[in-house]
């Protein structure tokens, strides 16, 4: 029972056109996923600056997920390709810093994929929960 006491803190960046709408659809269809997931709306996944991800880990997030439109379907034609490359770079650097790669993820969720959104979040929260708290990058001065 000890494991279930721990609730990871998850920050999800969702692009306005696909993934945020996908998350809304999950809601419309009443598909459950853990409340630990808190969504921040961005116009496009490429708006997510690597510094936002670092900030989240510094402030004590246990996992960060970035969701965008499927490759080729970006509302802004190519934004998600930038996301893919930028985050591949960032995540490998984070791994070098000791942030397990399971704590970071980029997923493509379309506006029609409410079920995929819920399933992705369930899986991600479970994965991060298994890793436990993120202590490596957390700035203790920011701790409550």
């Amino acid at each position: 029972m000890q494991v279930s006491e721990y609730k990871p803190r998850i920050v999800a960046f969702c692009c306005n056109w696909c993934s945020y709408a996908g998350a809304d659809l999950a809601g419309n269809n009443r598909l459950n996923y853990p409340a630990e997931v808190k969504i921040i709306r961005v116009p496009c996944s490429c708006r997510v600056n690597p510094s936002f991800v670092l900030r989240a880990f510094q402030r004590g997030a246990d996992g960060v997920i970035i969701c965008g439109c499927h490759p080729g379907d970006c509302h802004y034609t190519s934004g998600n390709y930038y996301t893919r490359r930028r985050m591949a770079m960032l995540f490998s650097m984070l791994e070098y810093l000791g942030i397990e790669k399971e704590r970071t993820r980029v997923e493509w969720v379309s506006a029609a994929e409410g079920a995929k959104f819920a399933a992705t979040m369930n899986d991600f929260v479970e994965t991060v929960a298994a890793l436990g708290e993120n202590k490596r990058l957390e700035d203790l001065r920011c701790k409550r």
Binding site: R9, V11, N16, W17, C18, Y20, A21, A23, D24, A26, G27, N28, R30, L31, N32, Y33, A35, K38, I39, I40, R41, V42, P43, C44, C46, R47, V48, N49, P50, S51, F52, R55, A56, R59, G60, A61, C69, G72, D73, C74, H75, Y76, T77, S78, G79, Y82, R86, S110, A111, A112, E113, A118, C142, R144
Partner: protein, 663 residues
């Protein structure tokens, strides 16, 4: 100092059922900047909006947070409310506590806690909001309709009726689409050609409508109000303006063995052809894959017989560029391939056909001049079996489609009736899972097939069709009598599921319009905005949005046209003010932002800076074209000096949200 008001909506029990709204409005009272906090049953109602307006005036609010449904739903509503009370509409933030909180969590404590966090994040963000003013852009008063079937034709006619010019791009040599191939139409049994061809002629003669037949959309740039579209006019090797459509060339062409796609390959046409007698434009087209002259340089018969001198073997594809204010996708549907349904022996016997092939077979202009004859031996069939739901409502996604194709029940009833009407000696069996007849006069039509025409409707699926000699052995189950049936059929007709045309996928990418998992275009709202794509300026007409029969297609086409007219009637469009902005003091002119901008919105200017020692320094700095920037934010991340930021989603705002969530 910001003065922020927080308004928590109950949404009846939608939110209040899982979120303790009064706890939420209480819990955020002491957040930074918050001077007022309340909750109400329906914030979007007139009285709810009055609460917001009064609070803005009474407490001199500089920003508000509405905790309600998704911003995709009511952000615009609450922005208008704020504006009505004199607050800049971009000083509004929404905390999505319905779709992303109360509806996905079951217990009150979890829901309330999460709602508080989401509200705090929105408060943190609105503290950093600044008033924004949207720019304006002009509207090109011309529409583009992609697809020239009944959906595209009707949309174009309605737009032209309102006085706006409209272009139709059709990939085939003629407009008309699937409806031109049909024989009769349900539930009235009037002939498809008789009601379609006048519309085709209307479109051709309307001086507001230009038809680009045998053409394809190649590239789409720009955005609502001003789309720049490249259209490839494929070489038809016939000068459209000279060809009189006399058809002499199509009779004299020596290449006679070209499968006729208009008749579903059931007969042959020549290498130079006019798809059907009522084609619009009635112009011949040379099929380059089969033309001897184009392949070997030896023939030239068509050129010799053409008195108009219209044949031009040297014609090349032509690219034209046009600017449009609005685009309508009307790309239609196709029956799915029968490759994966070999249990019905489609590939083994010519006498197993699809319903669209049956339409040609029973059409007076078809390969058999409307006589019901078996494709294999030309004999008159005595027993015909119809199989419903071939690939529709199919759980195995790799084989068929999960959805109902909607039109098959009705057209099969029509086919069965047509057979029994012309040939009362033919026994007709229809195997179905369910008969679905929701539509005006639809059920009456189906009852007539059963009761008046004596069609045998049997609930159950066909398991196997095996050709044995002359006959097709049909094994099926009768679920109501609970027994196996063995029928010797002469003709089997498969109601193939329908799917979006293959061209829709690449078109969606060009338009940046979204699609569902079946490649049907997604509408902006499934109930309230059914003919608009989420991409501004892109509209949907006909079966490209979902399976539809003709009456539905025509009404949707009219609806799409009215939305286009509403857009084109405007002189100016209000833009999105949430766009990139460069801080000239920080910019070092490195061009990183320019390289990632998908719209070419960033240019560089030489700017004079006054230095502290009173000298002047000229530096190259980035400048964002506000009319072109769409606000994706790619540049903000590429900028190494942090000079580029996105209004409405500034780095500071997003970081403050991150902080609030991680607190």
């Amino acid at each position: 100092m910001p003065r922020i008001g927080v308004f928590v909506c109950w949404c009846g029990s939608n939110i209040a059922g899982t979120v303790d709204v009064s706890t939420v409005s209480e819990a955020v009272k002491n957040e930074q900047g918050v001077v007022f906090s309340t909750n109400y049953q329906y914030m979007c109602s007139q009285s709810g909006q009055d609460i917001i307006k009064n609070a803005i005036r009474k407490h001199n609010l500089t920003g508000i947070v509405v905790c309600s449904c998704s911003p995709r739903m009511h952000e615009a509503t609450f922005r208008k409310t704020a504006a009505a009370a004199g607050l800049n509409p971009y000083m509004v933030e929404i905390a999505n506590i319905r779709e992303q909180c109360s509806w996905v969590h079951k217990d009150m404590l979890t829901g309330t806690q999460k709602a508080i966090v989401l509200t705090k994040a929105a408060i943190a963000k609105v503290n950093l909001n600044s008033p924004l003013t949207p720019g304006e852009s002009p509207v090109t008063k011309r529409a583009l309709v992609i697809g020239g079937g009944i959906a595209g034709i009707q949309t174009a006619l309605d737009i032209a009726d309102a006085g706006f010019p409209v272009d139709i791009v059709e990939t085939k040599p003629t407009i008309g689409g699937k409806m031109a191939q049909l024989d009769k139409t349900f539930p009235t049994l009037d002939c498809a050609a008789c009601i379609l061809t006048p519309k085709m002629v209307d479109a051709a003669q309307n001086d507001k409508i230009r038809i680009y037949s045998y053409s394809e959309v190649e590239e789409v740039n720009g955005f609502v109000g001003n789309f720049d579209v490249k259209i490839r006019r494929k070489a038809r090797y016939v000068k459209e303006e000279l060809c009189t459509g006399c058809g002499l060339c199509t009779e004299k062409c020596p290449q006679k063995k070209v499968p006729n796609e208009f008749n579903m390959g059931m007969d042959n046409r020549r290498a130079i052809y006019i798809p059907f007698a009522q084609a619009v434009p009635k112009v011949a087209t040379i099929d380059a894959d089969y033309c001897t002259m184009l392949k070997t340089g030896k023939c030239g018969v068509c050129s010799k017989v053409c008195t108009a001198g219209a044949i031009d073997y040297k014609q090349k594809d032509e690219i034209i560029t046009e600017r449009y204010g609005a685009i309508v996708a009307a790309t239609g549907f196709n029956p799915i391939s029968m490759d994966k349904f070999d249990e019905y022996a489609y590939s083994q016997s010519k006498d197993v056909i699809t319903s669209l092939e049956f339409e040609r077979l029973t059409n007076a202009a078809g390969p058999t001049a409307g006589k019901l004859l078996r494709p294999s031996d030309g004999k008159h069939p005595h027993t015909v079996v119809f199989v419903q739901c071939v690939g529709s409502r199919c759980a195995a996604a790799e084989k068929g489609k999960e959805y109902c194709s909607k039109i098959c029940c009705m057209y099969t009833a029509k086919h069965a009736m047509l057979i029994r009407d012309k040939y009362p000696d033919v026994e007709v069996y229809v195997f179905y899972i369910d008969v679905r007849t929701p539509g005006k006069n639809f059920d009456e039509f189906y009852r007539r097939a059963v009761e008046e025409y004596g069609v045998h409707y049997i609930k159950g699926m066909v398991g196997k069709v095996s050709p044995e000699g002359d006959v097709l052995k049909v094994q099926a189950s009768d679920l109501i009598a609970n027994k196996q049936l063995h029928i010797d059929a002469d003709l089997v007709v498969l109601a193939a599921a329908i799917e979006p045309d293959k061209s829709a996928r690449s078109l969606a990418t060009m338009l940046t319009a979204s699609m569902d998992t079946n490649d049907f275009f997604t509408e902006a709202h499934p109930k309230l905005r059914p003919v608009e794509s989420p991409t501004a300026g892109v509209f949907l007409s006909g079966a490209c949005q979902g399976p539809k029969d003709i009456p539905e297609t025509v009404s949707q086409a009219g609806a799409a046209a009215s939305k286009v007219i509403g857009l084109l009637a405007k002189d100016k469009l209000i833009g999105n003010p949430c766009i990139a902005h460069s801080d000239e003091m920080m910019c070092n002119g490195c061009s990183s932002c320019e390289r990632v901008c998908p719209y070419g919105a960033i240019t560089y200017v030489n700017k004079e800076f006054r230095m502290p020692d009173r000298t002047t320094l000229v530096r190259r700095v980035a400048s964002v074209n506000e009319a072109v920037c769409q606000g994706c934010g790619a540049c903000t991340v590429a900028c190494p000096s942090g000079a580029m930021d996105l209004r409405g989603f500034t780095a500071q705002q997003i970081m403050s949200e991150v902080d609030a969530i991680c607190k």
